[in-house]
């Protein structure tokens, strides 16, 4: 499956990109998380959440082909 990953805030800084397409052979958000930790070891040091279809999702969530967002802690206002 080819999925779009979008990086926000400090995570865009760490990965040095706002988004990328990855061809992956995995099914869950948890598996994606492990894959990204290999690609970007620095990520391990940071708190972040995943979102798919504009909704926060946990690690059991199935990847459905929509873009996946990596969101660091929110600091609006």
């Amino acid at each position: 499956m080819k999925i779009k990953i979008r990086y926000y805030g400090q995570l865009a800084e760490i990965t040095n990109k706002n988004e990328e397409f990855l061809s992956v052979n995995i099914n869950t958000v948890g598996a994606l998380k492990r894959l990204l930790s290999v690609q970007y070891p620095e990520l391990e040091k940071f708190q972040f959440q995943f979102a798919q279809d504009n909704t926060i999702v946990d690690e059991n969530q199935k990847l459905n082909g929509s873009a996946v967002d990596l969101l660091p802690p929110f600091s609006g206002g």
Binding site: R6, Y8, G9, Q10, A12, A51, N54, T55, D69, L71, P72, P73, F74, S75, G76, G77
Partner: protein, 147 residues
């Protein structure tokens, strides 16, 4: 009340005080309103280790933020007796002393607006994927953390 569509809360740059007075003036034809309450967030020139914040640069997952903000508004309309609600948040650079966040709640009586306003402000800060980068005088930066 008719189902409202999802609005875009984001504005590029600082929120202009003039737009606030226009927003207030727009309510003078709504004569069932007795009370308005407004929250404004302003960028502080916080000093951190002798370095001073000169601006905050905001980014967001704006589609998700607008969706969640819409849900927060709908919940507040269901919970309190309110007439209207207007919310703006800045994207991009907002300099110290400028306004980055505007929440405007109106209703027949003050009790409802006083309960709704802090709740809406807190939820927006907690739940919307917005990210502030504090830019210092010496051009270094750090990522804002909400208490």
């Amino acid at each position: 009340m008719k189902k409202e569509e999802i609005k875009n809360i984001f504005r590029v740059g600082a929120i202009d005080p003039i737009s606030i007075s226009k927003s207030i003036a727009n309510h003078q034809s709504k004569t069932t309103i007795g009370a308005h309450s407004i929250f404004l967030g302003q960028v502080r020139a916080d000093a951190i280790d002798g370095n001073e914040v000169t601006a905050i640069e905001y980014t967001a997952q704006s589609e998700m933020a607008n969706k969640i903000c819409h849900e927060i508004k709908e919940a507040a309309f269901a919970q309190y007796k309110l007439s209207c609600m207007h919310i703006y948040h800045s994207l991009g650079i907002v300099k110290k002393g400028e306004l980055c966040f505007f929440v405007f709640v109106s209703g027949p009586h003050r009790k409802s607006v006083f309960k709704a306003l802090p709740q809406i402000v807190d939820e927006i800060k907690d739940k919307l994927p917005i990210f502030g980068k504090e830019i210092f005088k010496d051009a270094s930066h750090q990522w804002k953390i909400n208490q």
